[in-house]
């Protein structure tokens, strides 16, 4: 079976550092970044990149645990803070989340997780206003493609340095940047339920998913992918997840009624 695509980590780090400087300082005149630090490798890599681009004193990380969040996630996030020298504050979201969910005692685990994710974004955006900072996103390309994120939560920050990197590339970049090894070695998890892992939820390993995605995005069909050694079951799973979640990678659908509809006829780039 083909390996996932590689990455020139030094080059990627240089490009993403320059991207952050351009997007925050040059385009918006903002020197500070805020980000949620989950204890996972994605937010760790983002924190390291922000520290390189803006200086650690300009990076404000937030640990935002819910009552059921694992203690090890907090510890792992602290390793990133210690390694980079960025600011860090811990704000419990339990009261805010439960303030709503007390009226919805039967909410499923998925609904509860979405409420937590959106509450975390409420905090980050509010802190960005307080600190005159920009929220920086931490979602990787694999989870974006598989739809493994909460819409209008994880994908909300206006800039995202790692959104075009597959998970396996994020791991490689993490090693280059010096992210503490426990964060790279542990099984990725949304940490919404005890024992939860991304790969368990998705039904496929990141290594397999990334290798398939690399071909699938170029237009290879299932037969061509099977001929390259991929399991047909895996190919179909990945394709189904991608096809079912296109909507999550777009802005809300607006009914077009005029010849000046925004983003349909009235077209301006995001940085204009």
């Amino acid at each position: 079976m083909p390996e996932p695509p590689g990455i020139d980590t030094a080059l990627a780090a240089e490009l993403l550092t320059e991207f952050l400087r351009d997007e925050l300082q040059r385009r918006r005149g903002i020197d500070r970044a805020v980000l949620g630090l989950s204890g996972g490798v994605d937010s760790a890599v983002t924190a390291f990149l922000c520290a390189r681009a803006l200086g650690p004193h300009n990076v404000h990380a937030f640990r935002l645990p819910y009552a059921t969040s694992s203690a090890s996630s907090l510890d792992d996030a602290q390793l990133v803070v210690d390694a980079t020298g960025i600011h860090c504050r811990t704000i419990e979201i339990t009261a805010a989340v439960d303030g709503y969910l007390q009226f919805e005692p039967d909410a499923s685990a998925r609904r509860r997780g979405n409420v937590m994710a959106r509450t975390r974004m409420v905090v980050l955006f509010d802190q960005s206003a307080k600190l005159d900072a920009l929220p920086v996103g931490t979602g990787n390309k694999t989870e974006r493609l598989l739809g493994y994120f909460t819409w209008h939560a994880d994908d909300t920050p206006p800039v995202n340095p790692i959104g075009d990197l597959l998970k396996t590339q994020v791991w490689a970049l993490a090693r280059y940047l010096g992210v503490p090894e426990p964060l790279i070695e542990k099984a990725p998890s949304a940490d919404l339920e005890a024992g939860q892992t991304d790969e368990g939820d998705l039904g496929i390993s990141y290594a397999r998913a990334d290798a398939i995605l690399d071909f699938l995005l170029l237009g290879y069909d299932d037969v061509q992918l099977a001929a390259r050694g991929f399991e047909l079951r895996d190919v179909r799973l990945v394709r189904r997840l991608v096809d079912a979640t296109h909507w999550k990678r777009h802005l809300p659908t607006t009914a077009m009624l005029t010849g000046t509809a925004i983003n349909e006829f009235y077209l301006r780039p995001v940085d204009f």
């Binding site: 695509p5 590689g6 990455i7 020139d8 030094a10 080059l11 990627a12 240089e14 490009l15 320059e18 991207f19 351009d22 997007e23 040059r26 385009r27 800039v159 590339q169 069909d221 037969v223 061509q224 009235y266 077209l267 301006r268 780039p269 995001v270 940085d271 204009f272």
Partner: protein
């Protein structure tokens, strides 16, 4: 050049600062990238920012003269051209002498990339020809960005007599898995294409690449000068704004062509090739289904 998106006057001022830097040792020819004074990805705003060639030449002349007075210079720059309500992705060659601009040549981009991240043909019209004109250093042609990726375009320029190929470009970088080369795949592809072009036709290639991120797309910079042997004389680093300089010895063109007379051979054979009835593009014929199904 790393323009501020859409801020034309501010970018002219930036160019003026660069002109001041060069005042003590003025070059004879300065080349700016594609869309150098507006940024590249403009979508519908291209209609707000497009200029006539004369108006753009006047603005360049004003910026030059403010820094260097009445000194003479030849400038090349990409710009979005408003030609009476038809819009082009163009590049101008303007001679400035005594503070007055003279438009020597305007090339309108032939190949408008409209795939993937690109959307040019939605907003712009295609140019129709590639012309050769007298530059400060002899016969030259301008091609813009993707024009240079179609081997036939530099070939036509060389056949028409160009000894210098000027390539303003805006290339959003891509390809981070490039075999440990330390540069993006697209940068390697560009340099190989330009070097092969230079060596095949025995021409100098002057490549000016736009720099800076535009909405997450990193323009690669990497401006370079390649001699008629295909050797890169100087290359700017990636991403940042940068001035690179080179002295061109036009006798190198003669030497390169004498040692590898591919252009002369092509001149002899091309008419036969074009008349060959087997040339399929001329009839746009159906050649059978080549898809997997």
């Amino acid at each position: 050049m790393k323009p501020a998106k859409g801020r034309y006057a501010e970018n002219l001022a930036t160019a003026g600062e660069a002109f001041s830097e060069l005042a003590a040792d003025r070059p004879e020819l300065i080349v700016f990238p594609e869309a150098a004074f507006t940024g590249y990805f403009l979508e519908g705003a291209v209609y707000d920012l497009a200029r006539t060639a004369d108006a753009f030449a006047n603005d360049l002349a004003a910026a030059w003269s403010a820094a260097c007075g009445d000194a003479r210079v030849d400038l090349v720059s990409g710009f979005f051209e408003n030609a009476g309500g038809t819009f082009y992705n163009s590049a101008i060659y303007v001679r400035i002498e005594g503070s007055r601009p003279h438009v020597v040549h305007v090339h309108r981009k032939l190949f408008l990339p409209t795939y993937g991240v690109f959307d040019e043909e939605r907003f712009l019209s295609r140019g129709r020809d590639v012309g050769v004109f007298d530059s400060i250093a002899g016969p030259a042609a301008i091609v813009v960005c993707e024009d240079a990726w179609h081997a036939v375009v530099p070939t036509l320029a060389a056949i028409k007599g160009a000894r210098i190929l000027i390539v303003p470009s805006a290339s959003p970088g891509r390809g981070i898995d490039n075999g440990g080369s330390g540069e993006l795949t697209s940068v390697t592809r560009w340099r190989n294409t330009l070097a092969d072009t230079a060596a095949e036709h025995g021409i100098f290639v002057l490549y000016a690449g736009l720099a800076g991120f535009e909405g997450g797309k990193g323009m690669t910079g990497n401006s370079c000068v390649i001699d008629p042997w295909g050797t890169v004389l100087v290359q700017a680093p990636a991403l940042g704004a940068c001035i690179v300089r080179a002295d061109l010895d036009l006798r190198e063109v003669v030497l390169a062509r004498a040692n590898l007379p591919l252009l002369g051979d092509l001149r002899a054979v091309l008419p036969d090739l074009l008349l060959d009835d087997a040339w399929p593009v001329s009839r746009n014929r159906y050649d059978g289904d080549v898809s997997a199904n």
